[in-house]
């Protein structure tokens, strides 16, 4: 097994090559998607703190390049599965902010008709399983999706998103081992955001790179810079191609950081100031904005215009979420079995 080398990538010559490859339109689309996630999350945080939103929140601020980079490399029929922190993946996979917002409010117009909530966003018709909020829980399921694609000889790939914490779960071990044994078309994307809730990964594992675990399964491993969306895109694209060609799954680790608390009102006081400073300087949106500006694709007017559009879309989504009808209490009984009433 070859040692996997990780290096930080602050938009070097390789990024310029990738930019040429994807073209201006897609590059700007990626920028807008990342902004959508960021602004969406900032808005939700306010709504939640104001007490206007039910439930709990797990935010994706700082990790936008991971979801957007990977999802921009997917084909329409590919599937993703997410975690208790699914907002970024849902937006990146193309669920509308309206149906996401409505779900966060528990409304009938939500992507899960109000039965899922903030930790279970998804829409199978848009290529996203309802998010699995048990840590590591989606990994064996994604292996099974890949197995279905393989058994039916479909050229589709299943992608699992999970965090550094999930790589310590038994489900990770069983799922990755079986995925490697059956060579299923899948990509396991570990968003290493350095913390499982308040616990630094350094306290709970003795290795620097989670991708090094790939060799234990005879699986391909790779590490990308989760703060550089083009680096993520390129590595995801490679892993997806390998999977689609029947050459087996990849464990793709993305080095990233949660520039916010774990959930609800978490002020993330457990993160040392210097660590926060380091990652704040690597804010994926700032880095990409700067790069696109240097490459002549963005200027301050254009940035303002895109931001304004995103803000408007979010306001519409909030309005939609707040004004959509509540479910009837008795709707509780619907949608469990297909051909049977719930016995009462």
């Amino acid at each position: 097994m070859q040692k996997i080398i990780y290096k930080e990538n602050n938009y070097d010559f390789e990024s310029i090559e990738i930019l040429k490859d994807i073209g201006a339109e897609k590059a700007l689309f990626i920028y807008k998607r990342m902004l959508e996630i960021r602004e969406f999350e900032e808005r939700i945080k306010l709504l939640f703190l104001e007490g206007k939103m039910p439930g709990t929140i797990h935010q994706y601020i700082g990790e936008e390049a991971c979801a957007v980079g990977v999802c921009s490399a997917l084909s329409e029929k590919d599937m993703i599965a997410s975690t208790h922190r699914p907002n970024g993946h849902a937006v990146a996979r193309g669920l509308s902010m309206k149906e996401i917002m409505a779900e966060l409010y528990g409304k009938t117009t939500g992507c899960c008709k109000g039965k899922g909530g903030s930790m279970h966003l998804g829409d199978i018709d848009k290529g996203m399983l309802p998010a699995i909020a048990i840590v590591g829980g989606n990994i064996p399921i994604v292996m099974g999706m890949g197995l279905a694609f393989k058994l039916r000889d479909e050229k589709r790939v299943a992608v699992s998103f999970f965090g550094d914490g999930a790589s310590n779960e038994g489900a990770f071990h069983e799922g990755l081992n079986m995925a490697a044994v059956y060579k299923v078309p899948a990509v396991f994307v570990c968003e290493n955001n350095q913390y499982g809730a308040s616990t630094s990964r350094k306290l709970v594992m003795n290795i620097e790179n989670i991708a090094d675990r790939a060799c234990a399964y005879g699986m391909r491993g790779d590490i990308g810079d989760g703060m550089n969306v083009l680096d993520v895109y390129q590595r995801a694209k490679t892993a997806l191609e390998i999977a689609r060609n029947g050459e087996g799954p990849t464990l793709l680790e993305l080095k990233t950081f949660r520039l916010c608390g774990h959930s609800r009102r978490d002020p993330n006081n457990y993160m040392p100031a210097e660590e926060k400073d380091f990652w704040n300087k690597r804010d994926p949106i700032t880095l990409y904005e700067k790069f696109l500006s240097q490459q002549g694709l963005l200027d301050s007017d254009k940035i303002q215009q895109i931001r304004k559009n995103v803000e408007n879309e979010i306001e519409e989504a909030v309005k939609f979420g707040q004004e959509s009808p509540e479910p009837e209490p008795e709707d509780t009984y619907n949608d469990l079995y297909i051909n049977m009433e719930v016995p009462r």
Partner: protein, 340 residues
């Protein structure tokens, strides 16, 4: 043709795999030429016709049920099995939090046609290869649970389960399989049936009266159903006429059948091989108390295993499993109660 449960299930699975290419088997020690065909020979030899669709797995129960879940979401119809029902506990998250809940959490968009097969019963293996897990899953909305006590029902319920778009958990009893060869159990109870040629199903949610009677209703599945029939035979000679009701489906319960039988007899004994605490008897008994208490001539009675793990010693094991004599005794006490 007369078949035991293991052979009957094998032939039913073969039929379903031939009928629908989305059906596949996944489990430990299956699909290996010269191998076991699962712990109790149910899938023996199926690899001859379905090499690609017999997925032999590592010893990874989370993986097995995760794979079944993911494949089902994508339109496959997996038949996932564990060697012993107890191993379901290793996969509890996948079964309870994923397979049973995903359709609901999706707002009804997903289908989850997963069949899960799990052998239960106390069989001289100590307490970790013994548990009757029905009660654990009885409290899990989203699953359907069946428990065939004859080969005829095993075939009909297996077919119904595979063709159902909801997840179905099938509990099978080790001592009723009639497995042959090196994997044969040292004790076996005959559960074989004449299996008709035609493609029949046994509907999920429908129980059956195994023996008609007017004095007491005995409700029992799997091995306990056979023991209850034995008890009923003995009691008949004493002039007590027992009705034996086999629910066949543990969830959703066939309450219509249960209520009509208990209304007729006015007395009910619920027998189960799991511990009494929080068991099937607790659910059925409460349903009866809530709905038709007025018809009862005597309190609901439960005959169950003690509230302990299954012991190994053959002496203690025999005490642990409700024997026909214990069932008969419970009925006698119940019938005689009116004399006081």
């Amino acid at each position: 043709m007369r078949l035991g449960i293991a052979e009957a299930l094998r032939s039913a699975i073969h039929g379903e795999m031939a009928r629908d290419t989305n059906v596949f088997c996944i489990g430990e020690d299956i699909g290996i030429t010269g191998g076991y065909g699962g712990a109790f020979t149910v899938t023996l030899g199926l690899e001859k016709d379905f090499r690609e669709r017999m997925i032999n797995t590592p010893i990874s129960e989370i993986g097995i049920f995760g794979a079944a879940c993911g494949a089902a979401v994508m339109g496959m119809r997996p038949i996932a099995d564990v060697q012993y029902g107890d191993f379901l506990l290793c996969a509890m998250d996948q079964v309870v939090s994923q397979i049973a809940k995903l359709r609901y959490m999706s707002g009804g968009k997903l289908k989850m046609p997963v069949v899960m097969r799990a052998p239960v019963g106390v069989t001289g293996r100590g307490s970790q290869h013994a548990q009757s897990l029905e009660p654990y899953f009885l409290s899990c909305p989203g699953l359907k649970i069946v428990a065939p006590s004859t080969a005829y029902d095993a075939v009909g319920l297996l077919r119904a389960a595979v063709r159902d778009d909801d997840p179905v958990l099938i509990f099978e009893h080790k001592l009723l399989y009639g497995s042959k060869g090196p994997r044969q159990e040292s004790v076996n109870f005959d559960a074989s049936s004449e299996i008709p040629e035609e493609d029949y199903i046994v509907p999920i949610g429908k129980g059956i009266i195994r023996r008609e009677g007017k004095d007491v209703t005995i409700i029992a599945s799997l091995l306990m159903m056979h023991f209850s029939l034995q008890a009923a035979q003995v009691l008949a000679e004493e002039g007590i006429d027992c009705e034996v009701l086999d629910p066949r489906t543990i969830w959703p319960l066939d309450l219509d059948l249960i209520f009509s039988s208990v209304k007729k007899t006015g007395r009910v004994v619920i027998v189960e091989e799991s511990s009494k605490q929080g068991g099937i008897g607790a659910e059925i008994g409460t349903q009866i108390a809530e709905n038709i208490a007025d018809y009862l001539l005597a309190p609901v009675t439960r005959v169950a295993a003690p509230n302990t793990p299954a012991p190994f010693s053959p002496v203690m094991e025999k005490f642990y499993i409700p024997q026909p004599e214990r069932i008969a005794k419970a009925v006698r006490i119940m019938v005689n109660m009116e004399l006081f």
